[in-house]
Symmetry: C2
Subunit: 416 residues, 2 copies
C-alpha cells in the first residue's frame, strides 16, 4: 500500500484514522482501555533498521523509493485517545491518528496489536476484580501465554486492579508488585512435605504462603502450622472443590490457633468461579489462564479505519461492515449522581464544549510525533478505572451476557 501510494503521490494526503471496537466481545457490558503506555513506548522506537530494510530489498517486496522512505520513517503526526483506564463501549473512538496516509497507515498493526491484546486482558481482569469484591487477586498466568504477552498481560491485569503478579519481568519493567508461592515441584523435591515447608520458611519467613495440596490437604495444613507456627502468612489450595476446601481449611486453621493465617485459592479461576466463591472464607485468589487469555475473549476486536482524507469524511459502504466517516469527538453523559447515561460520538464536531454532566473522553497523546508530557502512569490508570467503575449503572457490573452498560449515540457535529 505504501509503495503504491508513494508512486502515485497519495501517500502525502492528510488522513485521520480511528481505532474502535464494533462491539464488545462475549456480549459483555463494558470494555477497559489498556495499552496506551505501551503503545507510546513502542511508537518512540518504531523505525525500520538495516536488517528489516535488507530483507525487504532482498525479496524485492517494495520499491527502492519505498525503501528510502522507510529508512527515514518516523511518525510526525498527532494522536489523541482515551486515557488508559477509561471505559469504552461499541464505537468509542479509542485512538485518533492524524498524519499523512503513509505515516499513519504504517501504525495500524502496531496500534491494534497493543490495544487489542492489552484491552482484552484488562477488560477480563476488571470483571474478575469486580467479582472478587475487596479480596486480593494475584496474576499468575505467564505460562499460559506467549513470553512477551505474559509481561503485557501482567501490566494490564494490574491496571485493572489486580494486586500483584508472579511475573518478575513485569515487576522490573513496570514497577508492579510481585509475589509468588512455591509449586508442587518444590514439595515433591523434598523427602517430606515438612522439609519443603521448613526450607521455604527459612528463606522467606513465616509470612510466606505454603502450598498445602500436594498430598492430603488437611494433613498439609496440619504440617504447615506445626512447622511455621500460628503466625504463618497463608496457605494456598490449587485443586479440588475450592469452596468446600476453603471452609474446611478455615475451620482447621482456626482450631490450630492460626486465626490470622490467610487462605489463597487458585486453579482455573475465572470471573464466574471467583464470584461463586464469594461466600467462602477466602483472602486472595490466584488467577492464571483466564486472565492472560481474556477469559473467552483473547482479542478486543478493535479495528483501525481511515475516516478522513484531505479533510473530507470517507467510509466503506458495502454490506457487512459499514463504517462512519469523519473524525469523531466523544463525550460521556452522566446523571447528577455521577452515573453514566450514554456515550456520545459526534462526527465533525468543531470545538465542542461539554455541558453539565458531560465529559470529553479523548486527551492529547502525541503532537508532531512526540509524546505529550505528563502522561498518566500505570498507577494513575489504575485509579482512573476504579473511579470509572463506580460510574457504571448497576446492570453494567453483571457478569452475564447482555447489552453494553450504556448505549452509544452517534451524531453529526451540526446536530449536537
Amino acid at each position: 500500500m505504501v509503495a503504491a501510494a508513494l508512486a502515485d503521490g497519495t501517500a502525502d494526503r492528510d488522513c485521520v484514522f480511528e481505532v474502535f471496537a464494533r462491539r464488545l466481545p462475549e456480549s459483555r457490558r463494558f470494555g477497559v482501555v489498556a495499552g496506551t503506555g505501551r503503545f507510546l513506548e513502542e511508537l518512540a522506537r518504531f523505525r525500520f533498521g538495516e536488517p528489516e530494510l535488507a530483507f525487504l530489498a532482498e525479496r524485492a517486496i517494495v520499491s527502492d523509493q519505498t525503501l528510502e522512505w522507510l529508512a527515514n520513517y518516523r511518525f510526525s503526526g498527532d494522536i489523541d485517545g482515551y486515557p488508559e483506564g477509561e471505559l469504552y463501549f461499541p464505537g468509542s473512538p479509542i485512538l485518533t491518528i492524524r498524519g499523512t496516509f503513509g505515516e499513519a497507515v504504517l501504525l495500524e498493526t502496531l496500534a491494534l496489536s497493543v490495544f487489542n491484546h492489552d484491552s482484552a486482558i484488562a477488560s477480563a481482569a476488571a470483571r474478575m476484580v469486580n467479582a472478587a469484591s475487596d479480596r486480593a487477586l494475584i496474576e499468575m498466568g505467564s505460562r499460559r501465554t506467549a513470553e512477551q504477552s505474559a509481561v503485557a498481560s501482567a501490566r494490564a491485569a494490574y491496571l485493572a486492579g489486580f494486586s500483584a503478579t508472579s511475573n518478575l519481568e513485569a515487576g522490573r519493567r513496570y514497577g508492579i508488585p510481585t509475589t509468588g508461592t512455591a509449586a508442587h515441584a518444590f514439595t515433591l523435591l523434598h523427602d517430606k512435605e515438612a522439609d519443603a515447608f521448613a526450607a521455604q520458611i527459612k528463606t522467606l519467613g513465616v509470612g510466606t504462603t505454603l502450598l498445602v495440596d500436594t498430598y492430603d490437604i488437611s494433613a498439609g495444613v496440619k504440617i504447615a502450622i506445626e512447622v511455621a507456627g500460628p503466625d504463618l502468612g497463608a496457605v494456598r489450595i490449587d485443586s479440588g472443590d475450592l469452596g468446600v476446601l476453603a471452609m474446611q481449611t478455615r475451620r482447621q486453621l482456626d482450631e490450630l490457633g492460626a486465626t490470622k493465617t490467610k487462605i489463597v485459592l487458585s486453579g482455573d479461576l475465572d470471573e464466574f468461579a471467583i464470584a461463586a466463591l464469594g461466600a467462602a472464607p477466602v483472602d486472595a485468589y490466584g488467577a492464571g489462564t483466564s486472565v492472560v487469555t481474556g477469559s473467552g475473549a483473547p482479542t478486543a476486536g478493535m479495528v483501525y479505519k481511515v475516516v478522513e482524507v484531505d479533510g473530507k469524511p470517507v467510509a466503506k459502504r458495502s454490506e457487512g461492515k459499514p463504517s462512519r466517516g469523519g473524525a469523531k469527538t466523544a463525550l460521556r453523559r452522566h446523571k447528577p449522581s455521577g452515573t453514566a447515561i450514554e456515550e456520545v460520538v459526534i462526527a465533525d464536531a468543531v470545538d465542542l464544549e461539554p455541558g453539565p454532566g458531560e465529559r470529553l473522553l479523548q486527551v492529547p497523546l502525541v503532537r508532531g510525533g512526540e509524546p505529550v508530557g505528563d502522561q498518566p502512569d500505570l498507577t494513575a490508570a489504575r485509579r482512573m478505572l476504579r473511579e470509572r467503575m463506580v460510574t457504571l449503572p448497576w446492570d453494567g457490573l453483571k457478569l452475564s451476557r447482555g447489552e453494553p452498560a450504556i448505549p452509544t449515540i452517534f451524531l453529526e457535529g451540526s446536530k449536537k
Copy 2:
C-alpha cells in the same frame, strides 16, 4: 523456590520434569506440537543479565546466594521431546527436561509460554488447513494479537500448512513466504476506486489481488477488470455473505473473460466457516483473528511437572489434578496401513525397542545444555505434520467436538 532450594541443598538434586497436556482443548481430536525451534533459540539466550539481577537485588526478592547462582545460570542438562510438527494427545510427554532442580525448574515459564502458545495456534491452524482441503490459506491475524505473538503465530500457522503470512517480520525471521493485499483505507484514500486499483497495479503488476468490497462489490469487480484486464491475479472479498458473493463474483469474472482471476475470501473465517465454503468457487482464504487466538483455545493447557527426583518417581496425589510419576517413554502404534491406533506412554521403561508398527516419539533436543545438531527446520516440521495428518483415523479429522483421535494408554515399564 530456587532460593529456598539453594539454601537447603536440594537445588542440586537431579530431577526429571515433563511437559504434557491433561486434555485437548475444546474437545478437539488432536494437537500439533509447535514451538520447539523457538524454544531452543530462546534457551540459548536464557540468561540473567545486569538489569534483571539489579532488580532482584534492589527489591530483595532473592538471597545473595541466589543472585550469584542466577548470574552464572546456564542450563546444562538434557532435553528430549516430540519433534515440531508431530501430533500429540492427552498425556503425551511432549518435552522431558533432565537437570538439577534449580536449573530445570527455572525453565518452566519459558518452555510453557512457548509451547502453550505456539501449539495452540498450530493446532487450530491445522484444522483450518484440513477444512480448506487443497485451497491456499493466508495468515493475516497480526493485528488481533500482541506484537511478538503475531510473529510466533505466523510461524505456527505456516508450520501447520498455511501458504503465507502478511507478517513481514515472520518472513524476515523465519523465511516464511509473505503476501498481502491492500486494505479498504487504500481505496478510500483515492478519489475513485479505479484510481486505487490503477495505482496498485502500477506498483505490484496485474498479478496482484484487488480488494473489491469497499463500495459495491459487483461494480468493484467490473472496475477491477476494466483497469487490470482479464489477467488480474485475484480479487478479495472481505465482508457480506461470502459464499453467495463468491458465486456471483465467479460468474461475473468469467463473463468478463477473467476466467483465471482468482477469488480470495476473508473476514472472520474460522475452520467451520472455511469448511462451509467448501462448495463455493474460492481459490484462497485469508484467516486472521481465529488463527492467532487458537480459534477458541488460545492456550494449549500444557503443564510442567516434576516426575523424578534423584531417580525416584514422584507425583502429586491430592484430589483434582493427580499426576503420574516416573520419566515416560512414548510410542505410537499403527496398523499395517499406517493408520495410528494408540499413543502408549510408559513410565520407567528401559531401552525400549519399538516393535512392528510402533514408533518412538521423542527425539534428543539438548545434550549437556547444547542443542543437538541437525534439528529439523520449519519446512521439515511442516512436512512431518502433513505426513502425520494422513495417519489419523478418519474420525480424527472431524471438526466437531469429540474424543481424541486415538486413546492414550499408560503403562509401567515392567508391563510393556
